[in-house]
């Protein structure tokens, strides 16, 4: 992820991942990590580990903190939903910093996503374009998250509900659906007089009957352990 760009910029043999792995507690890598956040934004890549490492360094030396970089990290973390990355970042950011207007907005956005309120989310995001549009791929990442959580929940979903969650309507939605039908196994049904129903592919989450009974397996190590004791 972003390996080539990182190398080119630093002119050293180390990738940022290596820097983080071997110098986890070294204040000197801070500028490299800041550059790497910008790389992640421009190259649409993501590394939670290096971003957490940077927030940690800010936590240790608050005078070096850059609000702009923190905001970018938080937007990237929102884009990683459903993973809990946004909370992980907030745990490390001092409360007085979280009081800044741009962070307050991001926290509200996160709250809407955490509680499935996509309509409010898109309205709020539209009001704060300057924050989210600075990061390419934002809209699509959130749409992916919406589809993830809808797929956990619905077997068949009304078109209007889907449209609201992913914030796509009309012709654009037709096009999107066409793509999903071709690539992701979606099926479009016509229900009597009430518009389209979208059939989402079934998995163990929206159709728990499919859940394999994996709870009852014996890990190989346990057997190995017992056999080992015998020999």
């Amino acid at each position: 992820m972003g390996r080539e760009t990182a190398k080119a910029q630093q002119g050293t043999a180390y990738t940022v991942e290596q820097l983080v792995a071997f110098n986890r507690y070294n204040p000197d890598i801070l500028p490299d990590l800041e550059n790497y956040v910008n790389d992640q934004v421009s190259s649409q890549t993501y590394s939670l580990e290096s971003n957490l490492c940077l927030l940690r360094l800010y936590q240790f030396e608050p005078e070096k903190m850059s609000s702009q970089i923190v905001a970018r990290i938080l937007v990237k973390a929102l884009m990683a939903m459903p993973a809990p990355d946004f909370s992980l970042c907030l745990f490390l950011i001092p409360e007085r910093v979280q009081m800044e207007e741009q962070f307050k907005t991001l926290i509200v956005l996160s709250h809407y996503l955490e509680t499935g309120r996509f309509r409010q989310f898109w309205d709020e995001a539209a009001k704060s374009r300057h924050i989210v549009e600075a990061v390419p791929g934002f809209e699509q990442a959130i749409q992916d998250y919406a589809i993830h959580v809808l797929s956990l929940t619905y077997q068949r979903i009304p078109r209007t509900v889907l449209a609201e969650a992913i914030n796509i309507e009309g012709l654009a939605l037709d096009k999107f659906l066409e793509h999903q039908v071709a690539n992701s196994g979606w099926v479009i049904e016509k229900s009597q007089g009430r518009g389209q129903l979208i059939v989402l592919p079934r998995d163990e989450y929206n159709d728990p009957i499919l859940k394999k009974n994996t709870a009852d397996s014996v890990p190989f190590e346990h057997i190995a352990h017992i056999l080992n004791n015998l020999s």
């Binding site: 507690y25 070294n26 957490l52 909370s87 001092p94 619905y154 989450y205 057997i223 017992i226």
Partner: protein, 533 residues
């Protein structure tokens, strides 16, 4: 181990003479020194655990032990022994008196010297695991204590502030983390644990000791430092990194971490807490359940141990954390009957109030969290400019706030659960009217339920923590009853282990009979697998 600053008596008030060495102390250090030189781990352990406590109780209840300079002559002025002695000296001081800033700084210097010696590999001793664990544990504790102390800036004297400025490297967070990390790296413990899986090392089997004439000190300190790192990261609110630091230790298997009870508890407490904060409730519940059951069963054996009070306190805290987990993720089927009845006794009433999600319920979440959470710290130095303010509560307040925020996001789920439990199918419109919300709002609640009950693990895999599951088809909700899976696998493993044990007890295996038994057991396992398949 609470730090009541300023109120406690200072040693000079009690006529403490650092140069006076009672005979019993003389003989204690002489013995300890000799046993260390002769590598008699058992005797060292006796002196360290029992004699040190007894002597402290008898002679040094309210005063420090004699200064290291006073005892050095009895131990050939041995450099390493003196460092170890001072480490105990400070530990005793922290436990019984209030350390001054000067003493805090001196203790830091002593840890630096001690760890430097260990890291440079010149230590050739075999020390008891308990002692090595206590070193790491105390090192982290004193760091935490220092951060708390420094954050109370309001009533610092000018002299203290000058000292803080002058010795800004003492208990510096980078220094603390780098020492722990250096111990992990230098000891190569991660590689050792890896190789052990392939049978190339005998670290766990030997309880970390070295029976080939080498020293266990670096290796075991490195091992415990991984737990130390987990704890420091939890104190900083860095849960993900904390869990990563612990990863080389497989806590589902017996290991060196669970032969020292204090280490076992510290590991699981922080592991469970980090998982709770990451919303991986099922994982937290499982581990809390296991250790609470273990403590319940073994409590009596620790009654005389100096750690007993600490064990009881962590025990209570983990019940509180378990109560929180089960309120957010009501899966009591994961909890053993014994633990469950203890839990009901302690928190039954609070837990039923927490289900209501009104103001009072949040007050309960607040209370239990505040009681059971780690003592969070702000790692950075204060600005020494006026006005001097206290910031020792900042880190705790932030973690509490974020936790309560999470609890609030889940507040409507409890009501939803109640309905999901009684219907097998219900239309959205009907459920919306029962729950007194409109249909779009109900849809968001249902999405929230799915999102919050499906955690994402460190590998990005979705794990269901759902107690009741459902799916929506158009505008009808279908509830799926989750049947607890019957655990044949576990049962068989337990039976086989029992058979093995009995056989081993009464038979001394010859080559042939061993092969027969192994084949017999292999056949048994094949049965288990085909039975499931």
């Amino acid at each position: 181990m609470a730090d009541h600053d300023e109120q406690r008596l200072q040693p000079q008030d009690l006529g403490y003479d650092p140069n006076f060495v009672p005979d019993s102390v003389k003989s204690f250090v002489v013995h300890l020194y000799r046993q260390i030189r002769e590598k008699n781990v058992y005797e060292i352990h006796q002196l360290y655990e029992a004699s040190f406590q007894t002597l402290s109780e008898r002679h040094f209840k309210d005063t420090p032990w004699p200064s290291v300079d006073a005892v050095a002559q009895y131990v050939d002025n041995d450099h390493v022994f003196c460092l170890l002695y001072r480490e105990m000296w400070f530990r005793h001081l922290y436990a019984r008196l209030t350390p001054t800033l000067r003493q805090r700084i001196d203790s830091w210097d002593n840890y630096c010297s001690l760890f430097q010696v260990v890291l440079h590999g010149v230590v050739n001793m075999q020390l008891p695991n308990q002692w090595l664990w206590d070193m790491v544990d105390e090192f982290v504790y004193q760091f935490q204590s220092f951060c708390q102390y420094r954050a109370k800036m309001k009533n610092k004297t000018e002299q203290e502030i000058a000292l803080l400025r002058q010795f800004d490297q003492a208990w510096n967070v980078f220094g603390v983390l780098n020492f722990l990390q250096a111990l992990v790296e230098k000891s190569a413990i991660i590689q050792i644990l890896e190789q052990e899986k392939e049978g190339l090392e005998q670290f766990t089997a030997n309880d970390g000791y070295d029976y080939n004439g080498g020293s266990n000190v670096l290796k075991v300190l490195g091992y415990f430092s991984m737990v130390g790192l987990l704890r420091v990261h939890c104190l900083l609110g860095d849960y993900d990194t904390g869990l990563k630091c612990l990863q080389p230790i497989d806590i589902s298997q017996p290991g060196v971490f669970n032969i020292v009870i204090g280490c076992h508890i510290t590991t699981i407490y922080h592991y469970g807490f980090a998982n709770l904060m990451l919303r991986r409730y099922v994982e937290a519940i499982r581990e809390f359940n296991k250790i609470l059951l273990y403590i319940f069963k073994t409590k009596v054996y620790h009654q005389k141990s100096p750690q007993y009070e600490q064990i009881l306190k962590k025990n209570e805290q983990m019940y509180a954390l378990l109560a929180i987990c089960l309120s957010l993720c009501p899966q009591s089927k994961l909890v053993d009957e014994t633990v469950n009845s203890q839990l009901r006794e302690k928190y039954g009433e609070k837990m039923s109030r927490m289900q209501r999600y009104d103001d009072e319920a949040f007050a309960m979440y607040d209370e239990l969290f505040s009681y059971a959470c780690p003592k969070f710290i702000t790692p950075s130095a204060p600005s020494f400019e006026e006005p001097l303010v206290n910031y020792n509560q900042d880190a705790y307040r932030l973690q509490l706030k974020l936790f309560l925020y999470e609890a609030k996001q889940q507040q409507l789920l409890s009501g939803l659960r109640t309905f999901l439990k009684v219907y097998s199918t219900i239309s959205l419109a009907k459920l919306a009217s029962y729950m007194e919300v409109d249909e779009p709002t109900l849809r968001t609640i249902l999405l929230t339920y799915k999102h919050k009950t499906h955690a994402v693990d460190s590998a990005g895999k979705v794990i269901s923590n759902a107690d009741v599951n459902f799916f929506i088809d158009d505008d009808t909700i279908h509830v799926v009853e989750s049947k607890p899976p019957k655990r044949y696998g576990d049962y068989f493993i337990r039976q086989v282990a029992l058979v093995c044990l009995r056989l081993q007890c009464c038979l001394c295996f010859s080559g042939l009979s061993r092969i027969i038994i192994i084949s017999y057991i292999t056949i048994l396992f094949l049965h288990v697998y085909s039975f499931k398949g």
